[in-house]
Symmetry: D2
Subunit: 334 residues, 4 copies
């Protein structure tokens, strides 16, 4: 961490600041320039409150040199993490595809879709039982009943299940779930992250709507700090000024994360774009830039159904995506 | 709601869509143009899933005419809401100032600050007992003990207290709290909102870091849909590309909200800017554009204290802000 | 275009508005709802000022149904445009790679790089003679001399040249240039666009730093409205709150544009990310989602050179990118 | 400037880097930490290309300590600049109001409005002769004729005139203009800025749609580097994800700029919000946070006019704004 002092900082203030920093066990290297003096802090600065230092009268600015996350940091864990998800390995050069409907609706629906996506190449099953909805008047999911139906679909197909938790109070219901998902709107629900840090379940942590990569890794760090190292990251689009797509899929985050962290990185092109016909090109692009897998919405497609979900693929469309994605994966790995 | 059909939509698809819409109890007015046909839906469209309709093959786009919120909507409640907060009225032409430290630290600290801000003109006391922190390694607040100290400060000064909840499981601890705050990161923690909708406490709902005004009002609607009409909105800066301030304070939201909703609107210039010296000008600006009050961080200022908080004012600075703000309030109201 | 009237609009105001709209040659279809009346305008609304209509007392909101661009619109020109660039065809199922140094520096440099990128598979040569720099104190390019050197490199390699114009007054210097580039900061320099609309040169129009896809197409429309249909679009990253990359590469814009317009779409991963090691994965992703080509910075790499440009690849790295990209292109097209 | 070296940087690379930096006349202070070594560069780093240094193999990151602008920097020019604009002084504790129509349309219109705004308290007259329009099919202004009519209005009222230039080639037409405006879309039209740097006219430089405060000051620096110190900054809203207002007015930029630069800062609430009824509250807020003046659109208001401009005030509304603003200005200055 670097502390830049003000031009006219008083010596008394500087001395007090230095004493405070040394108390924290830090060594100070000082560099005097023409217009400013710089203090280089050497030692463990993870616990130093940079905002607080920056607010002192004598200080012009503070710049971090080291990342504020440790357990998620590739520097201290150079090997890729591989997360076992009910027998399916995520990360470490493997490529997995999570697929399924937006919401679990009926036994027939979830089992039909589960069979179809397995047939097409999916290796994990998704389906929402607790649904975060912007409107209190919209369908909120089947809750415990939805989890029960997911379990049936798992028994039927052998696919491990991934589903979202919205409140730590529901944790008991997730005992048979293979991967617990934390949605974008809960990425900084720190109480929930703390509770999940004390479980031994893999956690699929979606990126918040407007969170930086660093904040995202800090939320992973919350879970890992509790003792649970099994975190999978999932990018699902960020909020920008552009309205042609629901969100802007930040694919550059994939190679950036690959450098900063050892955790696996998945991409969810369905939520990112909000439009079914954009899912295929963006799934292919996600694979091409090195993602460890995909999360895709697929619905069952009975003839004449009106309500097919704006962003869901049919099983046939999904099968085509899987074919293309596998061919691109070959190019990435050779 | 308006549904724009595609140029080459098949009649069969259109008929199926119309039948579906009429089933929902809506009347359909059709307008055929040169390149597109438009369906105007008349009736209660609050429960219609616009995204779903937009995803249908025959549909080019959907445009909402009515807002998706009802209870928060000024159209259906033209009078300003006035919320009683432990005897202090918020909204309806009154102007209230919430002040206090970022975190409750000690009995002496909170009582000293409470007395100082009351003296300077504050009408409610704030102080964090549960602190949302980006890093798991940072101080997380005194929790139950912090709430106990706030209660002491209230007994000492008579100021009603405002403090943040981070998990519905903690609700019992908030019995003596006058106003429960929902932080920016929990604005779309829908499970928490639902629980708060079943309490009878005033809820101070901060705007999410990257949430639109409409999403914010939908979160207010969550609380109100549960039966609790006592919602106070508080803008605290939104996330943009600009890094000169921590967030960008969106003051235009004040007059926009005044038109769209009957709920009171406060501004928190401390969190928005993250810099103490910007608090005064932005507090003045917030008052000038019609806010119903302010929420400001003030710390006690013992000589020689190192750690004063990047965005907190001293009691003397706060008193100056109160003086200016009151003078500007006069200009607004005359 | 749809005009939503206010609940309590006066009949006199409505009548005046209708008369005004009919004067513009539009037909009006009226739909009366419980809370609002909607006017559907039928006819050519390209020239109607939606903001102005929205500002009228009687009007609550205006929603466009048709896009405001015509010549760039795929609806009125379903076939892909193929643009001849000095003998190289851009668009229409072909895939082209523009490569070269950020700035033209010396004859040896530009010729060395030109030969190297041609050898590796580039089909057009880029190089900046006029450089838009944020700081007035930074190197601004070789200007006329740079254009002269580019011409030499073209004679030497046969590669058509692409280079940026910054002011219409310099147009005469661009006579031997094959493709004139308009940089992101000039995307809405409308006077420049108008002048280029009267040339017969292909124009590579970069997306503005914070411009929507619609605004971008409107800038293409400016050039096309002058009579020059030879516009190539190039995405180079948009401005968001994320700071881990210089800009956020919006790859979803590729399939979105493919639907909205017949113009070719290229991706510039070098400027988008600002970091050499991100160029390869993002070039691969751009190809995977259907771009018509790439624009990549490559520098010559004499041993011991200090200044290699933060975002430029070596010729060897570039050759590897070309190999991968071609393999991915196969997957896209089969 | 601070250069953070990589953990495993080779000594040879470090030596080469140091030699390069010393060649630039910089002194190097080195600080070795546990995980990284930091080089503090002492001397004039304005011309050092930070991106280039950051791209070197041995370098992890570069952090600027000093701002890259000099002439616009308050550190080197502590006194407020006061800019004479045709006899009206802008900056230095004075408060000026520029008002007038969006576009100059007719002699009667501009003279009527000019008289009305002067009567209401405006001290400068605005009016567009060259209009930047997103659509090539929209009205582009009266050009030379518009400038002629503005001159007539100036003769009639004595108000100095402010009007926008869109291309350096038009400069001769601006001889009688008192203040030349550079619009948001041309804020980084560096060729135009250079030409204006060689004039002796005051330049009103609007902030770009998505430009940072630092980029804005760098554009001011472009003009000042050419010898023209008479730059006035004008904030007009930035692009964010929020769509309730046309742009998000960044009022925090006022106190931030007041600290960073000596140049005057105006606010344009008309373009920022795009809605007439938001102009008054935002004009009041702008004044409250310390702006040096306002730029407001006012139209003449003949009875029965349909087309009044979405964001323009009537002269009566404008007079009310001026009254309030003056009262708030009193509070700011006392």
């Amino acid at each position: 961490m670097i502390v830049i002092l003000k031009d006219h900082a008083k010596q008394e203030q500087i001395d007090k600041l230095k004493a405070f920093l040394m108390q924290l066990g830090l060594r100070i290297d000082e560099s005097k320039g023409d217009h400013s003096t710089i203090l280089g802090l050497v030692g463990d600065t993870t616990r130093v409150d940079a905002d607080l230092i920056a607010s002192l009268d004598a200080v012009e600015a503070v710049r971090r040199v080291q990342e504020p996350y440790k357990k998620a940091n590739r520097k201290f864990h150079p090997e890729d993490s591989v997360i076992d998800c009910g027998g399916v390995q995520v990360g470490g050069g493997l490529f997995q595809i999570i697929a399924g409907p937006c919401s679990v609706e009926t036994e027939e629906q979830i089992i039909t879709v589960a069979k179809a996506v397995k047939e097409a190449g999916a290796t994990l099953l998704r389906g929402g039982a607790f649904k975060p909805r912007t409107s209190p008047y919209a369908f909120q999911g089947l809750h415990a009943d939805g989890l029960r139906l997911l379990k049936l679909a798992k028994q039927e197909t052998g696919l491990p299940i991934v589903t979202e938790i919205m409140d730590a109070a529901h944790l008991d219901l997730f005992e048979d779930v293979d991967v617990i998902q934390v949605g974008a709107r809960n990425m900084q629900n720190f109480e929930l992250l703390k509770v999940l840090g004390h479980t031994d379940k893999p956690i699929l942590l979606k990126r918040g709507l407007a969170n930086t990569i660093q904040e995202w890794l800090m939320s992973a760090e919350y879970i890992m700090a509790g003792g649970n190292d099994r975190v999978i990251l999932c990018e699902r689009g960020i909020r920008t000024y552009e309205t042609a797509t629901r969100n802007t899929l930040d694919l550059s985050s994939v190679p950036v994360l690959k450098e900063k962290t050892h955790l696996p990185v998945l991409i969810d092109p369905s939520h990112a774009t909000g439009v079914a016909k954009l899912v295929k090109p963006m799934a292919m692009a996600a694979t091409a830039c090195g993602a460890d897998g995909l999360m895709i919405e697929v619905h069952n497609d009975p003839k004449n159904a009106l309500c097919d979900g704006a962003q869901s693929l049919t099983p046939e469309q999904f099968a085509d995506v899987v074919r293309r994605v596998k061919a691109i994966r070959e190019v990435v790995q050779n």
